[in-house]
């Protein structure tokens, strides 16, 4: 039982990846669709998508740091 924290960390990591992938997938889908509808606004759409994308990435990275802490600190 002394290695059970690895179990929690692994499950947490998996869930982070699921969440982040869902989020990024939605962003990519919406961006591709809107660029297809209005190719002339591609620059603006990319700019608008970028910022929330980085914020999303930041949340995922934070969660990963905490998973790393679980593994390192036990």
């Amino acid at each position: 039982m002394d290695k059970i924290h690895y179990f929690g960390a692994a499950i947490g990591l998996g869930m982070i990846v699921i969440g982040a992938a869902l989020g990024i997938g939605k962003f990519a889908a919406a961006a591709a669709e809107s660029i297809a509808r209005q190719p002339s606004a591609a620059d603006k759409i990319t700019g608008a998508v970028n910022l929330p994308l980085f914020l999303l990435e930041g949340v995922a990275i934070l969660a990963e740091v905490f998973v790393l802490l679980i593994v390192l600190m036990k």
């Binding site: 990435e57 990275i61 990963e64 740091v65 390192l72 600190m73």
Partner: protein
């Protein structure tokens, strides 16, 4: 901060208890972590409770700062000395990057009025972070370490040996990125105070004209948000840099794990078939990550400063 300290403890444990068997986790942590504070590269005295000793990451920071200072100053001086206005050679690239940062990242967020005030800070951030990220990706020190091992034969524990034990990314250290984010934190306050005055900036944190019970909830949230933004910047940059290195080293350590399981030939096979191609692929991905992270840090700083200047309430 404290992730780094834990990593250092693990690295120290890896060095002490390294008897025979290959331990992937400890080796990787040793390569990613800063050199331990008790055995720095250069021992300097402690002044006012601050230990000024130079560790691996501090050395890398100085190297990046010196390189950027010399290269950029040299390029700009050379350009200013010539008698025509058209830039040539590397100055073209520098000018393109500077214009991109100023016109695509700073100007849309900060606005025309303040762009000249904040563009220098953003440019410094961009070039410093990009340089620090990139220099960790170039294996110069590992190559020099090989040279040391086969040609120079310096003594155990010498300066050369310590420096060459794997080049590291200074921005993968949480202390470094926390310092950078602290500058952002200060810049946000300075920007707001310059645009609206010292008192008005703090009043701008919450919207005006709401019912008073809402403020009880809103003011703590806004104050928390003030600290969360630099914290997120810190974690994003450091974790991205650490994560990439850990991935590359983990894949490369398959070679040794397989060699331990089934002899040297198995290890070489695993290296040729899986490890090296995958590690090359991830290194390619890392080049993109390095550029994107420098971009993101600068862009988010510009956005936060812009939010302090143009209050949307």
């Amino acid at each position: 901060m404290f992730v780094q300290e834990i990593a250092q403890e693990h690295a120290a444990a890896a060095v002490e208890g390294h008897a025979g068997k290959f331990d992937a986790g400890e080796t990787i942590i040793h390569h990613v972590a800063n050199s331990s504070i008790s055995e720095p590269l250069i021992k300097l005295p402690t002044i006012m409770g601050i230990d000024f000793s130079v560790t691996k990451h501090v050395f890398m920071l100085w190297l990046v700062a010196a390189t950027l200072f010399v290269v950029i100053t040299w390029l700009v001086r050379r350009y200013l000395k010539q008698d025509r206005l058209i830039p040539s050679g590397a100055m073209n690239g520098l000018e393109a990057v500077v214009e991109f940062v100023r016109d695509e990242m700073v100007r849309p967020n900060v606005g025309n009025k303040w762009v000249t005030t904040w563009a220098p800070l953003m440019l410094t951030f961009f070039f410093f972070i990009l340089g620090a990220n990139l220099i960790g990706l170039i294996p110069i020190f590992d190559v020099l370490g090989l040279l040391d091992h086969y040609v120079l034969h310096t003594a155990e524990g010498s300066f050369v040996k310590e420096v060459m034990h794997g080049g590291t990314t200074a921005t993968a250290n949480y202390n470094v990125t926390a310092a950078l984010a602290t500058i952002t934190f200060g810049a946000i306050i300075v920007a707001g105070s310059k645009a609206h005055g010292a008192v008005k900036h703090w009043m701008n944190l919450v919207p005006h004209g709401l019912a008073w019970p809402i403020y009880i909830l809103l003011i703590p949230i806004e104050i928390m948000g003030m600290f969360v933004r630099p914290f997120a910047l810190t974690m994003r940059l450091a974790a991205n840099m650490t994560g990439g290195h850990i991935a590359i080293l983990a894949i490369l350590s398959f070679v040794f794990l397989f060699a331990e399981m089934g002899g040297a030939l198995t290890g070489i096979g695993a290296g040729v078939i899986a490890s090296v191609p995958l590690a090359v692929g991830i290194s390619g991905l890392e080049i993109i990550v390095v550029l994107v992270q420098a971009y993101v840090f600068t862009l988010l700083t510009a956005v936060f400063i812009g939010m302090a200047i143009h209050v949307h309430h």
